[in-house]
Symmetry: C2
Subunit: 131 residues, 2 copies
DNA sequence: CGAACCTTACCAGGCTTATGCGAAGGTTGG
DNA sequence: CCAACCTTCGCATAAGCCTGGTAAGGTTCG
C-alpha cells in the first residue's frame, strides 16, 4: 500500500509514536494535514512524518498542549488577531521597575484609550498611600 | 479605601464586568497584575481597569480563552519557545488546498523556510500513485 | 467595637481537550 | 472471496480550564 513515499495512518502511527486516533485529531486541529489517496486514505509523506515527530518534541520540551500549538497556528494566519493581541500587550502597565514608558508605548495606550470612554479620572503616576 | 486613583477588587469588579474571583484568577494567569496596598489589598489603577475591559472585548471578539491570551503572553516573553514554534511552522509542507483545514487556515509563509534544517532527507515531490 | 471590606485556600460543577474503543461500511490485494 | 486495512461517527473517561462558593482570618472606618 501507499505509493512508495507515503505511509498509511497505521504505519505513520508506528513510526511517529502517535496513535492513529491522534493523527486524525491532529489533522482536525489543522496541524499536519496529510493528503488523501483517491479512495480517501490518508497518505503521510516524509515531510509529514518529520513534522509529527518534531511536534512530539515540541510539546514535551516546552510542556505545550496541542491546543497551544493550534492557537499559535491561528496566530500565524490571523493578522487581525495578532494585532489585537499586540495592542493589548503593548498597553501593559509595566509594574515593578519604574520603567518610564517609551513614547511608542504611550501612543499605543492612547490609541486604546480613545476607543473606549474610560470611567473616572485618568490619573497616572500613583503614590500608593492610604490611612 | 483606595488611594483616589485606584479601586479595590470589588469595585474593580463592578466597573469591569469581571467577578472578584476572576480578577484574582486573571492575576494568577499573569495578565493584569495590580499592585498591592501595604496591607496586601489589590489596587487597580485606571490602566488596569482599562486593560481588564479591553481584555473582555478581546476574548469576545476573537472567541479566545484566558489560557489563549496567557499563552500569547508566554510567547512574548519566551524567545526560545517562539523560535521553536517558528521553526516548526516554517517546515510546513504546503500543498494546494483541495478541501482541508479550518477557514482561518491560509498558506502564505515560506519566508524563513531555511530557518532550520530538518533532520532527514526531505524527499518531497512524489507522484501520488499506487497500484 | 462591629460591619463590611480584604486575603488565601480549598471544594465543586460545567465545559473543553486529549485519548481510546467499537460500530458500520468502503478498499485493497493475495 | 476474504483478511486486513481504511473511513467517519459516536460513546467514554481522565485531566484541565473557568467560575462560583465558602471558610478562617486580617484591615478599615464609622
Amino acid at each position: 500500500m501507499a505509493d512508495g513515499t507515503s505511509l498509511t495512518i497505521h504505519e505513520a502511527a508506528l513510526t511517529t509514536g502517535w496513535s492513529s486516533r491522534m493523527l486524525r485529531y491532529i489533522e482536525d486541529s489543522g496541524l499536519v494535514v496529510p493528503r488523501r489517496s483517491p479512495a480517501g486514505y490518508r497518505l503521510f509523506g516524509p515531510g509529514e512524518l518529520q513534522r509529527l515527530r518534531t511536534l512530539r518534541e515540541l510539546l514535551e520540551d516546552f510542556e505545550l498542549d496541542l491546543s497551544d500549538v493550534g492557537f499559535a497556528l491561528r496566530l500565524r494566519h490571523d493578522a487581525e488577531l495578532r494585532e489585537a493581541l499586540d495592542g493589548w500587550f503593548a498597553a501593559e502597565p509595566m509594574r515593578p521597575p519604574e520603567v518610564a514608558a517609551p513614547d511608542w508605548l504611550v501612543y499605543e495606550q492612547e490609541k486604546h484609550l480613545q476607543l473606549l470612554a474610560l470611567a473616572g479620572p485618568v490619573t497616572v503616576g500613583s503614590t500608593g498611600k492610604e490611612t
